[in-house]
């Protein structure tokens, strides 16, 4: 397993992977048993570090992933699209899987035993917090694409360009966004501190 893949996996389990990293893992998880084993091992380490019980780690997260991928390709088969259309659909379908995997991973890492119980709000460690993104009553389906626009797989240069563009637009539009946020969220003017360079 390549170092890059290992890093992507680690990032994913920490909830920090970007879409590209998720895609990278998803492309491999079906065939790569070493990757699946590492996944389970990393999840175990993370749970231990977070002070969670290990009992749930016998659960094979990747099984859930493979079934998610299975469902995904099945749903395409059922639609009876031509091969060309399937290729066309694939990019955003894979993101849908990516999102569901992310959900699975977080749920897996956070202990399935908590589901259905009230979330235990113990004192938090530095850098972590007792409230999660995750719905404590169970994994909910997340729609990952509205489905109107296919997202093409980009060449590395285009990816870099788009990342730069996103950063640039963040700077360009942040103040206009913040003006609204300051009026409509409970922190008053504090959202202004998110702006890198406040303009007059």
């Amino acid at each position: 397993m390549s170092e890059k893949l290992r890093e992507s996996l680690s990032a994913m389990i920490d909830g920090e992977a970007n879409e590209l990293e998720l895609e990278r893992i998803l492309a491999r998880i079906g065939q790569d048993s070493e990757l699946r084993q590492t996944w389970i091992r990393y999840s175990a380490v993370r749970s231990l570090n977070a002070g969670e019980a290990v009992a749930n780690l016998s659960m094979d997260v990747s099984e859930a992933v493979r079934s998610a991928i299975g469902e995904d390709s099945n749903s395409h088969n059922e639609t009876g699209f031509s091969a060309g259309t399937k290729r066309f659909l694939k990019p955003f379908a894979s993101f849908a899987v990516a999102a569901s995997v992310a959900a699975t991973v977080v749920i897996g890492g956070q202990q399935l035993s908590q589901i259905g119980e009230s979330v235990p709000y113990s004192s938090s460690l530095a850098g972590t917090s007792p409230v999660g993104l995750i719905n404590s009553v169970g994994a909910t389906a997340v729609q990952a694409s509205y489905g109107t626009q296919p997202v093409p797989v980009l060449q590395p240069t285009a990816r870099t360009a788009y990342h730069k563009l996103a950063r640039h637009r963040m700077q360009k539009y942040m103040q206009e966004h913040v003006e609204q946020a300051a009026l409509n969220s409970p922190q008053g003017l504090i959202p202004f501190s998110r702006i890198q360079q406040i303009q007059e």
Binding site: E19, S129, P130, Y146, M174, E179, Q180, N184, I190
Partner: protein, 330 residues
Amino acid sequence: MTAMKSKFPCRRIFRLAGCLAAGMVYAAQAAATSCPPADTEALQWLEKMSRSAQEVSYHGVVTFQRGDDMQVMQISHSVSGGTASERLTQLTGQGAQVTRTDHPLECLHPGHRLLRLGATDAATGSSLSGSCGIAENYRFSVDEGERVAGRKAVRILIAPRDMYRYGYVMELDRQTGLLLKAQTIGRGNKVLERFQFANLSYDEEVSQAPDVEVLHNATHSLPEEHTGAGHYSEQWTVRWLPNGFTATDSPAGAGKRRTYTDGLAVFSVFLEVLPQDIKPGEGVARRGGTTSYTRGMRLAGRPTLVTVIGEVPVNTARMVADSIKWSQEP
């Protein structure tokens, strides 16, 4: 963007069009009659928080952290004669100052309106307005808070009911309800950003003014404010929003921007028609709790760049960008 602009429209227009606009929002949601069971105490605290944010005079020093980056700023908020004046002065970094003067107390923006809805509903046990406010999309619990800026606090844990928004831990002043500390929580219980008061007093400010490099008067765009229709206005629509998000101002006044809030999170959508073709694709940049998602695509045959910026997960931004459509061919 002068102070003048922010002084007058609210008073003149709010009572007339403002309440009309609010009525329309509620009518649209009137189908929802029963609200999910919610922690009444938490909702009452959040309502108190929303009120104190506008109605109480205070000043203090606030820290704002994102990852390794920490900023320190001075905040002051003073109320007199039915209006509030606010000032934020950066003590680190750029040294900018942001002011908003003469903001009428009765001028209630949609975000705060949503925060105050839930409490009313919880008190009667049913929905009066037809909307459950933030309780529809978040789950709450109340806990003993720590001491923040020397004040005893109550801690409100706010967990999202779906994955389209973040969670929060808020600490409120036990006496006044003022928000003393807030953490935004992302996937894997990660703290994305945190702000908190380092010191706070409720008396009149006597401190010396720090050196200011840049002075900005915060704008005051309104749900009711109709500016002249730009060539973008009302030609594009956002067809998908996560449950509970409401526009912060009228589309006609928004031009190439639309902003939405669910009472706690806010995001904005920006649309640009490009002069030349762009290779379709997407890019993401993040800073603390803020996501910037940019998508290049062809909309109605024209190269278009859609950017979603806000304190929401990237998947939410992507869904919203995906749903943009020209509502009338320009």
